[in-house]
């Protein structure tokens, strides 16, 4: 097979390279184009559609295109946020794949000048009755814990879903948040001819060569264990030192620009930095510290060894930069010079080994408008509504829901993560959204990640709109106004028109809901080719929502603050019979079909406003999502250690998942101050049962036991 095909490049793309260069590329050059023009780096199948997301609102400082989105949260503070995927590496090697995903996203944050202050990890696996899925999940959670804890950045949660299509293609997404003073903002543009390029951090080895093109931009087949050498190996200790060294360089004003080394390593970082500054760069590979002998120029250029940064530094500051690096025990080497030409020239052993127009690696990347076709099965899916039974015992049904791994207690996961470091964590994982204070201000930042792959499979547009609304509600119940969004669009093979239909519908649904909420999308990631043996995953967009609480409630709502005698209220939207894609369909009926309800855009702002206001006053404010009212109430009862009596004799109202509904616990006779949306007192807290009068009853201790062991039971079984 010809080299370009081995590198994952089509014949047409190869012809385009020849066209750009005006000659045949040599091997290192071809390797550079193959990675920079891969789906993962160039967004060639998705770029044409991403313009639908707005990011021109006042709070946006930097939208998509930099390493992270940046928003102004006032008081001189900026927040940087970013989401990424490490799906295929985590399937090949769960521990290192997940660990290096954490390392990569952190570099995206501190590259901007911000100190990373928190991480979130949305995860998707196949059902846990499969031993291999348990192995993958244990490995991924262990890898996140290992890297995140040791690098010294708290992990404040995430979310999780289990479904068959993820058995052979798990999803490991990771979101990070950073905080910086306004004057600390740094970008990647390498200005100023004569400035030096300094490589900071780990030495360069043979690990991870072709990670972006081989792992992240191609489908999988069974027996792909031989791709394991393409997975990088993480060193959180090296990253911790790199963070501290870089933050000191920024605060001392010693760098002109900085760029992290991710996909395609040195080649991508030097090209991107030079191109962003409208410059060129001469790079000397002999100056790169390598960790093994005999590496070829191509290998050094393409290596994805972790924990490395490229700083652009004025010639006079080189000594000071090397001193700071030495103090933090971070290896550093001058490897290049910014030039006035627009070319990236790479030298090795005194000779020129690559010479390409720097901007061509990003700007000349192919752009595909792939065919889009609504799947033929779509109408059948919509017509296949969940077959609802006549009589349902709400008590028994609730117990089976609470014992489900996707619905029960998640503390098995988040108690392995340091979620308290930095003394910012006001609401920890295990609630709707996590809440961090911003020290020195009255403000707080709430963050939630949300996804809903089954609903997005049934109706990608409605499903995507719903996860945006749900994430917005999750930060609102922590007292924060939705402020900015990042998204991670996980999809199957974009060369299939049906997958592209799912993608475009998803983008439409997300864009529409963000528009309704006037929310900027400040960054994102597209992960295609989540396909193994020809089977695509469910479309699995994930949103990361940043909310700004101003002021931050000093006693924010929590699930564990309900007390005997408090009233239970339902606010928001009328319940209905929205069972398509519900937990009830999956857990009780084992059924996937029907069409989920749309979110009522007219109500969403009013309901969010009420939540933000009530969060200053009420002890419990809890969004109703998977498992409906019954599961949401049970979570409050279990966490608070108090039962409840609910006036509801129709089981459907207990398990229906109509969006935009919130439960409130409040002292008796409270006035919630709501007259424009539904507000209904539906019960009272007390006793040691969850009692749906007439529809069923559960002993609180039994419910607690089922919920507590939902993940612990399967995961304590050795695979």
């Amino acid at each position: 097979m010809s080299l370009h095909r081995t590198l994952g490049m089509t014949d047409d793309e190869y012809a385009l390279v020849v066209d750009v260069l005006g000659r045949e590329p040599n091997e290192p050059e071809l390797a550079m184009y193959s990675v920079m023009w891969s789906e993962h780096c160039s967004y060639k199948s998705s770029r044409a559609h991403l313009g639908r997301f707005r990011h021109d609102q006042d709070q946006v400082v930097l939208g998509p295109g930099e390493n992270a989105g940046v928003v102004d949260i006032g008081d001189g503070w900026l927040a940087a946020l970013r989401i990424e995927s490490h799906n295929h590496p985590s399937f090949v090697e769960p521990h290192e794949g997940a660990a290096t995903g954490v390392g990569g996203i952190l570099r995206d944050i501190f590259t901007m000048g911000a100190r990373p202050i928190a991480l979130w990890d949305p995860l998707r696996f196949g059902p846990l009755d499969e031993p291999h899925n348990r192995y993958l999940m244990s490995g991924v959670v262990g890898g996140i814990a290992h890297y995140g804890n040791a690098v010294g950045v708290p992990t404040l949660g995430g979310e999780i879903e289990f479904a068959d299509p993820f058995s052979k293609n798990p999803l490991v997404n990771v979101m990070a948040l950073g905080l910086m003073r306004r004057e600390q903002l740094v970008t990647k543009a390498a200005a100023g001819p004569g400035n030096r390029a300094i490589l900071l951090g780990n030495s360069t080895g043979r690990d991870g060569i072709g990670g972006a093109s081989i792992l992240a931009s191609a489908s999988f087949e069974d027996g792909d264990a031989e791709k394991r050498p393409s997975v990088q190996v993480g060193d959180p200790f090296a990253e911790k030192k790199l963070i501290e060294a870089c933050l000191e360089l920024f605060s001392a004003g010693l760098v002109v620009a900085i760029q992290d080394l991710g996909a395609a390593g040195i080649s991508c970082a030097t090209a991107e930095s030079a191109a962003a500054g409208g410059m060129g760069m001469d790079v000397d590979l002999d100056a790169v510290p390598v960790r093994e002998q005999g590496m070829t120029p191509g290998e050094i250029l393409m290596s994805e060894s972790q924990e490395r940064m490229l700083a652009i530094v004025a010639p006079g500051a080189v000594g000071a930069v090397l001193d700071v690096a030495a103090r933090w025990e971070v290896p550093a080497a001058v490897i290049g010079t910014v030039t006035e030409s627009s070319e990236l020239r790479v030298f090795s052993g005194g000779s020129l080994v690559a010479n390409v127009p720097a901007a061509s690696l990003s700007e000349d990347a192919p752009l595909y408008r792939r065919p889009v076709e609504r799947p033929r099965h779509q109408d059948d899916l919509w017509n296949d509504a969940p077959p609802l039974p006549e009589g349902v015992d709400a008590g028994k049904t609730l117990l089976s829901h609470l014992g489900d791994p996707a619905l029960g207690d998640r503390s098995w996961i988040y108690e392995q993560y340091d979620h308290m470091l930095f003394l910012n964590t006001v609401v920890e994982p295990g609630h709707d959204g996590s809440l961090l204070r911003v020290k020195g201000t009255d403000k707080g930042l709430a963050v939630a990640t949300d996804g809903d792959a089954v609903r997005c499979f049934l109706d990608p547009e409605r499903g995507a709109a719903r996860i945006v609304a749900e994430a917005a509600l999750n930060v609102a119940v922590a007292g924060a106004r939705p402020y900015a969004v990042v998204d991670n669009l996980n999809f199957g093979n974009p060369e299939k028109p049906e997958v592209m239909w799912q993608f475009t519908e998803t983008v439409a649904g997300m864009a529409e809901m963000c528009e309704a909420l006037d929310l900027p999308v400040v960054g994102g990631n597209v992960s295609f080719y989540n396909e193994t043996d020809g089977v695509d995953i469910y479309p699995a967009p994930v949103v990361g929502m940043l909310g700004l609480a101003d002021p931050m409630p000093l006693q924010p709502p929590r699930l564990d603050r309900a007390e005997e005698g408090m009233d239970l209220w339902l606010i928001g939207h009328e319940g209905g019979d929205d069972f398509a894609g519900s937990a009830f369909s999956r857990v009780t009926l084992d059924h996937v079909g029907g069409r989920p309800a749309a979110v009522d855009v007219g109500d969403v702002l009013a309901i969010i406003d009420h939540c933000v206001r009530l969060a200053q006053a009420v002890p419990v404010l809890h969004d109703i999502s998977a498992g409906g009212l019954a599961v949401a109430l049970a979570e409050i009862c279990i966490r608070s250690g108090v039962g409840a009596v609910v006036d509801c004799d129709d089981w459907r109202l207990l398990f229906d998942e109509t969006p935009l509904r919130v439960l409130v616990a409040a002292p008796p006779l409270a006035d919630l101050g709501i007259d424009d949306v539904l507000v209904q007192r539906i019960g009272v807290f007390g006793g040691d049962h969850i009692d749906f009068e007439g529809a069923g009853i559960v002993d609180l201790a039994e419910a607690t036991d089922a919920w507590y062991h939902a993940l612990r039971r399967p995961l304590s079984v050795v695979g």
Partner: protein, 222 residues
């Protein structure tokens, strides 16, 4: 009166500790692990984190950092020395406290609040607390399981040097549920839970303050 808070490469709780010490009226300065002296500090805290990446073994490399010489001298002079979490592990490796901390019983990292009972006041950490007092403090460790030879444990118990013990559930399998202990003179103390993470109501607990206040009081020259 100042406290030196030691920063090894990989340490991550140093700023949290400085903030919590400030809350109990103690000024603190960060000192780097390569420093040769403590800048005239009256006491030392070794904070939590992953000194030298926890490579080889927790604390095994940190004990050779130059700063450990003046720390050892200060301990010998009877001045207060406190190790929190990774700092406790370093004190054990450095021989300033007996025993060692090994992997948790369930081989998983544990980050959650646990209940701790004060079992002795004979330390800079617990002098201001009451015996039998139960505190709710966050635990955050993979190697929190305290072990020592049987006769060492017996001697620690007999001399009331076990100052903190897990209450109710033993989260990590620690011998005799030991969560914190002190040197014979009581001036060197180590604990696995994080008092600085329980130093403000908005963070969920202020139970750590009594321990930090004990430490603050111990800084006054005898």
């Amino acid at each position: 009166m100042t406290v030196a808070v030691v920063v090894f490469p990989g340490t991550n709780c140093e700023h949290d500790v400085v903030q919590a010490l400030d809350a109990v009226g103690v000024g603190a300065e960060l000192v780097w692990h390569r420093d040769e002296d403590l800048g005239g500090a009256d006491g030392v805290v070794l904070p939590g984190g992953f000194a030298h990446g926890d490579y080889l073994r927790t604390g095994a490399i940190a004990r050779f950092s130059p700063i450990m010489n003046p720390v050892t001298d200060l301990a010998a002079a009877g001045r207060p020395v406190l190790g929190i979490c990774n700092g406790f592990q370093v004190l054990c490796e450095a021989g300033l406290l007996p025993g060692a901390l090994v992997a948790n019983r369930d081989l998983q990292f544990i980050c959650r609040p646990v209940e701790i009972e004060v079992t002795s006041k004979k330390s800079v950490l617990t002098a201001a607390a009451h015996i039998g007092e139960v505190l709710r403090l966050p635990l955050n460790s993979y190697e929190g399981n305290y072990v020592a030879p049987v006769d060492e444990i017996d001697s620690l118990e007999a001399s009331h040097r076990v100052v903190l013990r897990y209450h109710g559930e033993n989260p990590n399998g620690s011998t005799h549920a030991i969560a914190g202990l002190a040197s014979a003179a009581g001036n060197v103390a180590g604990l696995m839970p994080h008092p600085e993470r329980a130093s403000e109501a908005v963070l969920g607990s202020t139970d750590g303050l009594v321990l930090l206040e004990s430490f603050a009081a111990s800084l006054v020259p005898a």
